[in-house]
Symmetry: C2
């Protein structure tokens, strides 16, 4: 039998600090990331858990300038549409929020889920096929935490029409968009979520979110 | 401006070890978890990122013996159904797999997503409402990693009919099941996924999962 490694008190404190500092970053320096750093982050992401070990995450590095411009156009259209659904003070606050770092972030990585992966032979996803997409989310979160531990910021852009993204990036038909990541060095690090600083929302105490049955 | 904390090389190595050791655990000791430990894990989960800071995760601690028995019955029915879709060698291998630690795990926590949370005022989820469920997945992963750092195991059971779970647990109608977690001390720690050890599936090299556009 293998012994479970023992993680010390010091490590757990730092891990908490990491959870606390892992922000959704929308303000980036333009400075490039080293190529090997990005590859290492994607490798780390692939160590995430997945349903039935299906590893259904698929990464698309978006480097072509024309495609990046198309992606920004999709975001701008969707964001304008989202603004039109906000009213009164919320609308003016929304209009002032910076919700994407797509202009400055040196790296753009779109993460998809393969809706019908060969790996895993269907195990664990018969009643809840959405666990495939959830596995890709676990990969994103792993990448996000590993990045934060290196002082690298990740911003998850979700204000995008998935079908339009799939078209612009020309990916296989059975792939579905899970998240679009902007990656780079944060220009204004903060330990408080930008939406909290801007007065959009606040933290709910955990006790209010737990039931017993 | 706040300085981003610097995480050292030592911390990053331990974090990698954590990603590597964070297993889906299905074999538990019956030993109880301290009450404050479970509460602290749920609090940690609530520090996860969420779309528009909507914090749509909802936790149900399942303690009632009758409800636990009903949950096991749901798993057994769904697992038998899943087995009937496997053929030949895969079927005999599937039948030998232990896919849930529901019998032994001292703590059961069902995680739901509120499909229409007040918090966040809809921000970021207009085009991709599935980001609400994804936020609950990020909370589960945060809990999972925090648990592993304390030598506590988590097993995510997905072989369940969500509507049946919602009925057994009597939760609000707009809540959707995201995952059912078994939590406790692992009885057979391993650094290799159980499905890999059993020969069900193997790891895919990261390079095969990346495209450039």
């Amino acid at each position: 039998m293998v012994e479970h490694p023992v993680f010390g008190e010091r490590f757990r404190e730092e891990l908490d600090r990491l959870f606390h500092w892992r922000r959704d970053v929308r303000r980036f320096e333009r400075r490039e990331l080293p190529e090997e750093t990005l590859q290492a982050l994607i490798e780390r992401a692939c160590s995430a858990p997945s349903v039935g070990l299906s590893q259904p995450w698929r990464f698309v590095r978006v480097r072509d300038e024309k495609r990046r411009a198309d992606m920004r156009a999709i975001f701008e259209a969707c964001n304008a549409e989202a603004l039109s659904h906000q009213y009164g003070e919320r609308a003016s606050l929304y209009a002032r929020l910076k919700l994407s770092g797509m202009d400055e972030a040196p790296e753009h990585v779109a993460v998809f889920v393969d809706a019908n992966p060969a790996a895993g032979a269907g195990l664990g996803r018969g009643t809840m096929p959405e666990t495939l997409a959830y596995s890709a989310v676990l990969a994103i979160h792993t990448l996000w935490l590993a990045a934060a531990a290196e002082g690298i910021g990740v911003g998850w852009v979700s204000i995008l029409e998935p079908a339009a993204v799939t078209r612009v990036l020309g990916v296989p038909e059975e792939w579905r968009l899970v998240g679009y990541l902007c990656i780079g060095y944060p220009s204004e690090p903060s330990e408080v979520p930008e939406l909290e600083r801007a007065g959009w929302e606040h933290r709910i105490p955990a006790a209010e979110l737990v039931l017993e049955r």
